[in-house]
Structure formats: structure tokens, C-alpha cells
């Protein structure tokens, strides 16, 4: 019998995640841990979780981890990096955490060219606090703090974080991927691999944005959420690589 797929040893086997059915946080978790496992560096890794649904990540990921305060994961990771120059370090952050309350921290980690990788989960809404509007919420999308839907005159346009980060010279790897189809998930894994390679080679800051689903707060059934993502998010948030150094191409 040949093994085609087994769940990564980087995830706690006996623990069920706290994510809602169909939420693709679980896929992003798996991809990151799978890449670290394949590199054989799970025991040399330190992860930093955000505030939001994935504050619970340290309970699911089998690496040393700390929960950072809302938005501060890049600052916390910068501190960890100073003490441990040789470890694998990543932050895992949602869109409220990273683009709103932590906008400054992520921007300056990118500016400094911090040698860690940030995995940014963009699902266009606040999850844990209950469906409030995020800076990434789409025009027309309803949120509990935008009951009539987001509109430009009142709320402005959604933030395109990958494009912003790509403006920072020292953010050498920036890519937007999606978790809505098997093909996109495979591409996403490649981006995660490259992000860690950039870190390994100390080339600069690496940033991967995952377009991810939130069926509960979008108000769509779990199995329909990938379609909602494809129809609504990808047109505004185009997939692709924004920056990639020669060394990892």
C-alpha cells in the first residue's frame, strides 16, 4: 500500500480545530505545517498567532508558539527574531488583525525587511467578533457594522494589502493565493514553500496573502463558500505574485 496523503505531523492529531465547518483556515494551517514538516524543521520553528479566530492556532499547530496581541504579531516576531537568528519564524494573521489594528506593525516589519514570513488570511470580514466590517470587506458586502453593505462614500474602498506590502523594497516576496479550489490550494503551497525559502536565505521579508472563506459570517453554506470567494473576492483581489527574488524563482 502506497501513501498518497497523510495529515501533517505538524498539526495536533487529537485536537479538533475551533474553526467553523468549511472555513479554510484549516487548509492554510495544514499547508504551513506541511511545508515545515517536509523541510524537517518543525522543532526549529516558532510561530506567532494573532487575535481573531486563529488565536487558537497554538493549540492546533505542533510548534513553539505565542499568541500576540491584536495586530502586533509582526512586532512580536521581530523581537523573537532578535533572540533566535537561526530559527524558522512565522506570523499567522487574519485581515482585521493585520490590515486594521495591526496596519502599522506589518508595514514596518516589511519596511525593515524582517527575516520572517507572514501568512495573511483575508476573508473580507471579522470572524471571531461576529461578522463586523474589515478594511478588506468588499463593496456591497454586508457586515454587522455595515448592515446596508459597504459603500464607497461612507467606508472607502477595500485595502489591497499585498499591493501595499509589495511597495516596500525589503518585502522581497509577496504573493496572493486562494483556497477555493484544489488547483489554487496547490499553488498556495508553492507560495508557502517560497516564503520559507526566502527566510532561509535571509533575503528579506516574505508575505503570502491567502484569500480564505468565512461561510458563517458570509451567510453561505460551507460548500458554497469557495464559489462566493471565486465570484466576489478574486475579481477585486487578483491572484498572483507581486515580488519574487531571483534566488527562489
Amino acid at each position: 500500500m502506497k501513501t498518497v496523503f497523510e495529515y501533517t505531523k505538524g498539526m495536533e492529531e487529537s485536537v479538533s480545530t475551533s474553526y467553523c465547518p468549511g472555513c479554510t483556515h484549516g487548509i492554510a494551517h495544514r499547508l504551513i505545517m506541511e511545508v515545515l514538516e517536509e523541510k524537517g524543521v518543525l522543532k526549529d520553528t516558532i510561530g506567532i498567532a494573532p487575535v481573531g479566530c486563529s488565536i487558537a492556532a497554538p493549540r492546533f499547530m505542533k510548534v513553539d508558539m505565542i499568541e500576540a496581541f491584536h495586530g502586533r504579531a509582526p512586532a512580536v516576531a521581530s523581537g523573537v527574531r532578535r533572540v533566535h537568528p537561526d530559527k524558522y519564524i512565522f506570523t499567522y494573521q487574519g485581515d482585521g488583525d493585520l490590515t486594521s489594528i495591526g496596519g502599522n506593525e506589518i508595514l514596518h516589519a516589511a519596511e525593515r525587511g524582517e527575516k520572517f514570513s507572514t501568512f495573511f488570511i483575508n476573508n473580507a470580514i471579522y470572524g471571531m467578533t461576529g461578522g463586523q466590517m474589515a478594511p478588506t470587506t468588499l463593496i456591497g458586502q454586508k457586515a454587522t457594522t455595515a448592515p446596508m453593505g459597504r459603500y464607497v462614500e461612507k467606508h472607502g474602498m477595500p485595502l489591497k494589502m499585498s499591493e501595499i506590502i509589495a511597495q516596500c523594497e525589503c518585502a522581497v516576496f509577496v504573493e496572493r493565493v486562494a483556497l477555493d479550489t484544489p488547483a489554487h490550494v496547490r499553488q498556495a503551497k508553492k507560495a508557502v514553500q517560497k516564503a520559507f525559502e526566502v527566510q532561509e536565505k535571509r533575503l528579506g521579508f516574505a508575505f503570502v496573502e491567502f484569500l480564505s472563506t468565512c461561510p458563517s459570517n458570509w451567510g453561505v453554506p460551507p460548500a458554497k463558500a469557495p464559489d462566493w470567494l471565486a465570484e466576489n473576492m478574486i475579481p477585486y483581489y487578483p491572484l498572483g505574485n507581486f515580488r519574487c527574488p531571483e534566488e527562489v524563482k
Binding site: 506567532i48 508558539m65 505565542i66 502586533r72 512580536v76 523581537g79 530559527k87 502599522n104 506593525e105
Partner: protein, 360 residues
């Protein structure tokens, strides 16, 4: 004995922290403590440490959390509104049980305030300025030498108590120059092996440990959070037992007992000599630890005392603790200035005489 050298307060604070083993400093410029990040930028590298100018005080304190969680010995510093921004992290350090040395060089407030000396951050430092059930272990030195000694010791105390240790200074202490004797360099805790041995809870990557380490900013249930808080309370109880520090002076025959800390305690000392020359016997309680507060010192007050006066550069913030210490046994009065204004020893003399007129 080591040579005594003349140093500016802010620079002496840095030397003391580095000699005490601090190797990671994260800061943001703010008057009157900007010499601290400047000194660290110039000298941390020389001893194999690390300085980062953060994007804000929020960034600085959270970098501090990261480095402390990773097992590094961290120093942070700022001044009043900057310390206010850092409170998120202070509360965070406490829930995570992480050690850090904080030097708070206070200026006038509230708000952006004034850049001149003040003690208006007394509550911020002694009550825990952030949210939740926690304390900072806080010392308030009076001379440069005392500041140096407390900072040097503070690095290790933070580790021992798994809690931030705050050194509360007024802006005068940061800016003035005085001779200090600097202590010897301690061996810093650096590198995987040392960190794993000394701080088994730290994040180093799992390595050969049987289990991964997790540091929780958000325990998962009320019960878990309560357990975490009670775990920290064991340290707080120990601090209340072992870290109460104060100095008393001439309490036995004192008609008036002053309670004062920091630079104002020095001004009060001069006022005491002036009052003595006019035939008024005064004594002083000088808290060195302001949390835990030396309430027991008040039991040493003699039978002749008519009144206790809290002398502070804030509107009676410490007087609340003085009243708890006095516990109704004596009337408690206040001599204060606020907003960065200073009193002179003559002011204290005049106001003390005025207070005495109203006390039987």
C-alpha cells in the same frame, strides 16, 4: 571599589541594564528619555546585544514581548504618554508571565503633557496601567546610584518573578548628572543552550524538549485564565513579602512626617533641615518600592507626630497609599505640584508651617 564616574541619568540607566544582563532593547524617541534609545543604539552591538527603533511604543513593547518570550533579557523605556501606549503590552506580559525591565521617565500629564518632571504616573505604575488583574513590581529610586543599583537588580528580579519590573523615575533623574559606581557585567543569558537551561518555558523551537512550548495571551476559558492569574498571584504574594523597601529618617521625635519618593524626596530632605533650624522636628518615610507599598513603615512613626504630609509631584496620587498606611491614626495632608512644575525646599517649608497651623 570601582571608579565613580559622572553620568547623565538616562545613560547610567542603560549601563546598569546592560551590566545586569539585558541584551535586547526596543524603543521609540520621546523626551525626556531619548538619550536611552540613543545610548542603546550606540552601545548594544558592542556587547552582542540588539537595539531596534520600533515604529511606535506599541511596536516596542510588543517586540519586547517577542524577545522576552524567546528567552531574551529585555529592557524597555519611555515617558508618560509613551508608557500609556505600552500598557497593552504590560498587561500582555503579565498574562504571559514574561519578565521585562521597564524604565519609566515621567513627565507632566495628562495627555501629551509637558516634558518637565512629574510624578503623575504613580497610579499608572502602581495600579497596573492596562486592563486586567495584575501588578508591575515598581521601584522609585531617589539618587542616580540607587537607580543604577535597582535597574541592575531589576533585570534578575523580573526573571525571578516572571513579571515586568518597573523603575519609576521623574524626568529630573533622567536628565541630571551625578557620580555613579557602575556594577560589574553579569553573564547574559544568550543562545539556545543557556536559554533552555535557565528559562525552560521560553520559545526556542521545540528541539529535544518532549512537548512544544506555548505562551498564551488568551487562556481559553475563564477557569484557565483564573488559574493563570492565580499562578501570577503567587509571585505577587512573594513580592509583598520580600520586595517591600523603604527608608525612614528621624521618625521618633517628628512632629511632622513627610512621605516622599524620587527627586522630591531629596527636595524634602533639604526642607527638613531648614525646618529643624526653625525648631520644627520632622521625619520622613521614603518608599523605595511603590508596589508593593511599604505600609508597615507607618507603624514606626513615634508618639509625637501630629500630621503626615505626602509630598509629591502629582495631585495626591500617592496620598491614597499614605492614607492606607496611616489608617486613620493621623491626619494626612498634601504638598504637591502638577503639570511639570517643581516645588523648592522653601515652598515645602512654607506650606508645612501653614499645615501645622491647622493641626492641633
Amino acid at each position: 571599589m570601582a571608579e565613580k564616574i559622572l553620568m547623565k541619568g538616562n545613560e547610567a540607566f542603560c549601563e546598569a541594564a546592560m551590566r545586569g544582563g539585558a541584551r535586547f532593547y526596543f524603543g521609540y524617541p520621546i523626551t525626556p528619555q531619548s538619550e536611552i534609545p540613543e545610548y542603546m543604539a550606540a552601545h548594544m552591538d558592542e556587547i552582542g546585544g540588539c537595539f531596534v527603533q520600533a515604529e511606535s511604543e506599541l511596536g516596542a513593547v510588543n517586540m519586547g514581548i517577542g524577545a522576552a518570550a524567546a528567552g531574551g533579557n529585555v529592557m524597555l523605556s519611555s515617558s508618560s504618554p509613551g508608557i500609556a501606549l505600552m500598557q497593552e503590552g504590560m498587561s500582555g506580559l503579565c498574562v504571559c508571565h514574561l519578565p521585562i525591565l521597564l524604565v519609566s521617565v515621567s513627565r507632566g500629564g495628562p495627555g501629551i503633557g509637558d516634558i518637565r518632571p512629574s510624578q503623575a504616573d504613580y497610579r499608572q505604575a502602581t495600579r497596573g496601567g492596562g486592563n486586567g488583574d495584575y501588578h508591575l513590581i515598581t521601584f522609585a529610586p531617589t539618587t542616580m546610584q540607587e537607580a543604577v543599583d535597582l535597574i541592575y537588580e531589576g533585570v534578575a528580579l523580573a526573571d525571578e518573578y516572571r513579571n515586568p519590573v518597573c523603575i519609576l523615575c521623574d524626568a529630573m533623574m533622567g536628565q541630571m548628572m551625578e557620580a555613579v559606581e557602575l556594577p560589574e557585567h553579569k553573564e547574559p543569558v544568550m543562545g539556545d543552550a543557556a536559554i533552555r537551561a535557565y528559562k525552560p518555558w521560553a520559545l526556542t523551537g521545540q528541539g529535544d524538549r518532549a512537548e512544544k512550548n506555548r505562551i498564551h495571551a488568551m487562556p481559553w476559558s475563564p477557569e484557565e485564565l483564573q488559574e493563570s492569574n492565580l499562578e501570577q498571584k503567587v509571585y505577587y504574594d512573594k513580592a509583598e513579602k520580600n520586595l517591600v523597601r523603604y527608608e525612614t529618617r528621624d521618625l521618633e521625635d517628628a512632629e511632622v512626617v513627610f512621605v516622599s519618593y524620587g527627586t522630591p524626596a531629596r527636595i524634602t530632605t533639604e526642607a527638613m533641615e531648614m525646618l529643624k533650624a526653625e525648631g520644627i522636628n520632622t521625619g520622613m518615610i521614603r518608599p523605595i518600592s511603590v508596589w508593593p507599598y511599604p505600609y508597615a513603615a507607618f507603624d514606626e512613626i513615634g508618639p509625637k507626630t501630629k500630621v503626615i504630609i505626602s509630598v509629591e509631584l502629582s495631585l495626591g496620587q500617592m496620598m491614597e497609599d499614605v492614607k492606607l498606611g496611616a489608617n486613620g491614626r493621623w491626619p494626612v495632608k498634601l504638598i504637591s505640584r502638577t503639570g511639570g512644575v517643581l516645588f523648592s525646599s522653601q515652598d515645602i517649608v512654607d506650606e508645612t508651617k501653614e499645615i501645622l497651623k491647622g493641626v492641633k
